[in-house]
Symmetry: none
Subunit: 190 residues, 4 copies
């Protein structure tokens, strides 16, 4: 029972410790008791730092999204061609598939919870997602919104299907495919 020095830092710590459990079991399956037990604190402590399960989850989501973009930009390098940059994105997802897959699951479950329909929470989350995508679009230097959506639809669908067992689909293959097609497509248009 040591006294905590930095409240916000400790909150962060709790957040990160709770990620694995949320990811493994999903938002509604995990209970606050399990969460507390696994983290090694009491439920009371959890509620001392977060007003509710929902709030804890929301903060976690925001934090994860933030880290993701950061990590990608740090790892991705800056290849000259669009094809390479797209492949770089797909490679990044492939490399961190486990982590990103879990996040995607959380994001989906978040969106499903209909109790939150009127609370403005979904809007926050959506905004978060838009931000991420627009930052990545900037990185890839694609300005046409339809193309951006094309790439991310493909990517999300791929993540989703692999998540649920279609493990024969490969990131590198699909990445190469879309890279090549886009190069043609854009090349012709210009």
């Amino acid at each position: 029972m040591p006294k905590i020095v930095d409240r916000d830092k400790y909150r962060q710590e709790l957040l990160m410790k709770s990620f694995d459990l949320f990811a493994q079991k999903g938002y509604s399956s995990i209970t606050m008791r399990q969460l507390a037990q696994e983290i090694g604190v009491s439920t009371g402590t959890l509620y001392h730092y977060f007003p509710s399960k929902e709030a804890l989850f929301l903060q976690l989501s925001a934090e994860l999204e933030r880290q993701n973009v950061m990590n990608f930009l740090a790892e991705a390098g800056n290849p000259p061609t669009l094809k390479e940059r797209i492949e770089s994105l797909f490679q990044f997802v492939a490399k961190h598939e486990d982590h990103i897959g879990k996040q995607t699951l959380l994001w989906i479950e978040f969106n499903q919870h209909q109790d939150w329909s009127n609370s403005g929470i979904k809007e926050k989350l959506q905004e978060l997602d838009e931000q991420t995508i627009s930052e990545l679009a900037k990185y890839m230097q694609i300005t046409d919104r339809a193309i951006v959506d094309f790439v991310f639809n493909l990517l999300y669908g791929l993540i989703l299907r692999r998540l649920f067992g279609e493990e024969t689909i490969s990131y590198s293959q699909q990445g190469a495919l879309v890279g090549k097609m886009l190069a043609h497509h854009l090349g012709e248009d210009t």
Copy 2:
């Protein structure tokens, strides 16, 4: 013998009546009591026809998947070019977006339930999905598995993102895009 037919027919009826509720609230939010009440039977009756909530849900999923393919093949016609066939698929999804979206959500929620990790249920569901896709692939006359996956990744991602608020992305636009690209891509390769 006729008894069995009646029994199965009634089961079907219960199934279809339960779809709306499942679609509206999601698997875990709906309770067996609500389900029974809405359908107009007792919980006991529900359990008489289905061994568990899970089983009821699984049967519902299978039924929906079956109907979906059927409807599509009936509506789609048989256009001569690949581009048109793909656009036909995207149009079909656009037209029945509400229905298909809800199904997708159920499918996702189903997959998330970790209690079912070891029960072979997920495998069944996956198989169901594979069947659907392979039938649609046959319709589109695509044989290359990577291309099939490409199209369906895009489609699933699109459905998913529209589901969660990105309503500015359009089915027809993305369908046209992938149709055009694929035509180029395959045209060049052959």
Copy 3:
């Protein structure tokens, strides 16, 4: 686990069985679990018959109030003079002090719960109380509202103070006192 024949009858039964516990411990001290255990059912059953602890309590209050008036009118007889009728009332309260005291406590606690400030519950309860008083006023043949209030203020105060330990105050003495005074007072006015 026998099947219950008459839902409403059984609800009544549960209500009456719960009275003692509520009375002994007060509304907020008693838990639904204790209540269920003592009655000999599960918490689930309690919630099967009553939507909430609050609703259970409200129904109990209404039922008690109803029974009280009924019992009093049955026991009280119909003496010719006001003094005797008042004394009859005080005697009734004295005789059933335990029961009425407990009820009063519940009534008080009910009124205290500020969560219910805006729910119209207090109004219902107040109305219940007014009804009781006006019926008793009719019995005593007092029409002047101020006098009615006088008698009931005295009576409530007496119940309250005895409840909390002042057991030296006597119902018969105070009843006789108010009876005598009122006789004088009203005799002079007429």
Copy 4:
């Protein structure tokens, strides 16, 4: 020695600052945290000055009772007739109805707490009440205990009923009534 004075003085201060919150929410609804926050200290500090919530509350009650009598005697003047003195008492209560009502509520809630049945706390509280009444009896120069009780039963009942919504009953009317009756009654007896 001066330390002790300071300590007690601070305790007093905390006590008075806590009154409003207790009065607003009632004993069991208010939490020690809220109390501390509102007062502007930590929960630790609260527990440094009072061994428990219960003890804090008991001390508060004693203090309030003390102040009440003091204020009344200061405000009441010393009219010559019993009728006037009684009316003076009722007027005092009417004037401070809000404050006294809240106190009464606290006193009631206190008495209800059954955990304290064996702790001698109720006895202390009762004693407190007796003291108050006997001091007020002395002021009114009534020696007959039955009459004293009569007046205070009426008064408590009145406070109670007004507290719970019967706001049509008036202090001055009921005070005048009891004053007049008592004057007759005692006049005749002597």
